[in-house]
Amino acid sequence: MNEKSSYEAGFGSDALKEPRRIVFITKKTSAKVKGDVGRQFMSYPQLILREAIAFELLALVLVLLSLLWDAPLEQLANPLLTPNPAKAPWYFLGLQELLHYFPPVVAGVLIPGLVIVALVVIPYFNVNIEGEPLWAKQPQRRLRIFVGGVVVLFVFFGLYHAWTVILPTAAITALALAAYFLPSGRRNFTDFLRSRPLSWWVMTWFISVAIILTVVGTFFRGPGWSWVWPWR
């Protein structure tokens, strides 16, 4: 553990304004700790006032919408009369869409379980604190690993014909490859893509797949989970 020798000790700011504190900064500490605190405001009234305004705006919008929109209410529940399709609440329709493609143990248990585990362990991973871009170091080696991983994903999804998963995956892959191959230059968008770390790419992929699956499950699925156009 040679990290122990890399502690820095220092005294924080003006002792009259703020209580004196000793800070230990290791290499793993967030970079922001090293910066000064900057200008500060009193929570009362600056923050409280803003929160109150936010609450009032929210209440206003909700009340207006509740006057215009009616909560759905169908016939009395009847276990003998199955609607086709029977749909879960909208936030589970992504899962239901997955169930359409994959065996139940994979779509209903394995994938959601993995998502929850992945979300929980995010901060305990070897966190890339500086937010180093994906293609910054050893770009060729990383490209090989990236392409390998993506090919495995495509083969897996392709085996089950899960094309509503393949589509957003392909789109994000194309963007990541664009960030690798397109020259940096005048276009802000490519520069933005080039500066993104791996975590950004994984999360953006996850969000786009989740949104596409939920939208498809909500609007584009009809009897027998067949494809329908919502405007027909």
Binding site: K32, G38, P123
Partner: protein, 250 residues
């Protein structure tokens, strides 16, 4: 002129003995009394006394965490009012929905508000999580608070899901059927877990009662405790994450 006289009247009110006995302070004219206004107040003491200029900016948070909490408050209030008109029994539950529609004053509005706020809370919590992720809000020293947040996301989803069954209409019944069928796919534990949740092999009176108890007691209690920890940890971990590239450059 009127605003000035209102201000003066308020200041005089805040100087009275009764006001001071209730709020433990006079008017908040100095930074000391402004600090007291926060940490001397049971409902505000989880907030920081001072906030960085950067974390006050709208794009630092878009108030997404606040909105999630506000929606929880609105849901609690409308939910308690709805409880006054609801029996968790078959088929009374559905008749109560009809009563809300045709008999109770503003019953439709009350249910609309509860349902709408529930959908909005699911969206707000998800959005809050993604926003925090993109800002790197999970990085040290905020690791554990991220995990608490994931817990709150799950509680929010279960709250919304258990509430879905309560109207006892076709929509509710079949949505819960689809959802609980997924549980039974869990290897070995699937069937027992589904039985425990439904209080039987099929969705019936027992399932409605269990979902009701989960929806109004167990899950809200879990949410309140987790929200408390979540807010408290934000402050203990040194406030919101400030992104160098976003907020420092002006």
């Amino acid at each position: 002129m009127t605003t000035r006289s209102t201000h003066r009247a308020l200041d005089q009110l805040r100087d009275t003995r009764v006001w001071k006995s209730i709020f433990r302070r006079g008017p908040a004219r100095t930074n000391r009394t402004r600090s007291l206004a926060v940490f001397g107040n049971l409902f505000l003491h989880a907030m920081p006394v001072k906030v960085r200029e950067e974390s006050l900016r709208v794009r630092a948070t878009y108030y997404l965490g606040s909105f999630s909490f506000f929606l929880f408050v609105i849901l609690s209030v409308t939910g308690i009012l709805l409880m006054l008109y609801y029996h968790p029994a078959v088929p009374m539950a559905y008749r109560d929905m009809k009563d809300l529609q045709f008999v109770v004053s503003n019953g439709v509005f009350l249910r609309n508000l509860h349902r709408l706020a529930a959908q909005a809370m699911v969206i707000a919590v998800f959005w809050h999580m993604f926003h925090v992720f993109y800002r790197g809000g999970y990085k040290p020293p905020h690791q554990f608070n991220w995990v608490v947040g994931v817990g709150l996301l799950l509680v929010t989803l279960f709250l919304s899901y258990t509430g879905y069954l309560l109207p006892w209409d076709q929509l509710a019944f079949w949505a819960i059927t689809v959802g609980t069928n997924i549980i039974s796919y869990v290897p070995f534990l699937g069937q027992p877990m589904r039985f425990l949740l439904l209080g039987g092999h099929q969705i019936g009176e027992n399932a409605l009662l269990r979902f009701y108890v989960l929806h109004i007691v167990i899950l809200p209690l879990a949410a309140v405790i987790l929200i408390g920890i979540h807010f408290w940890r934000v402050q203990k971990d040194g406030g919101l994450t400030v992104r160098e590239d976003h907020e420092r450059k002006i």
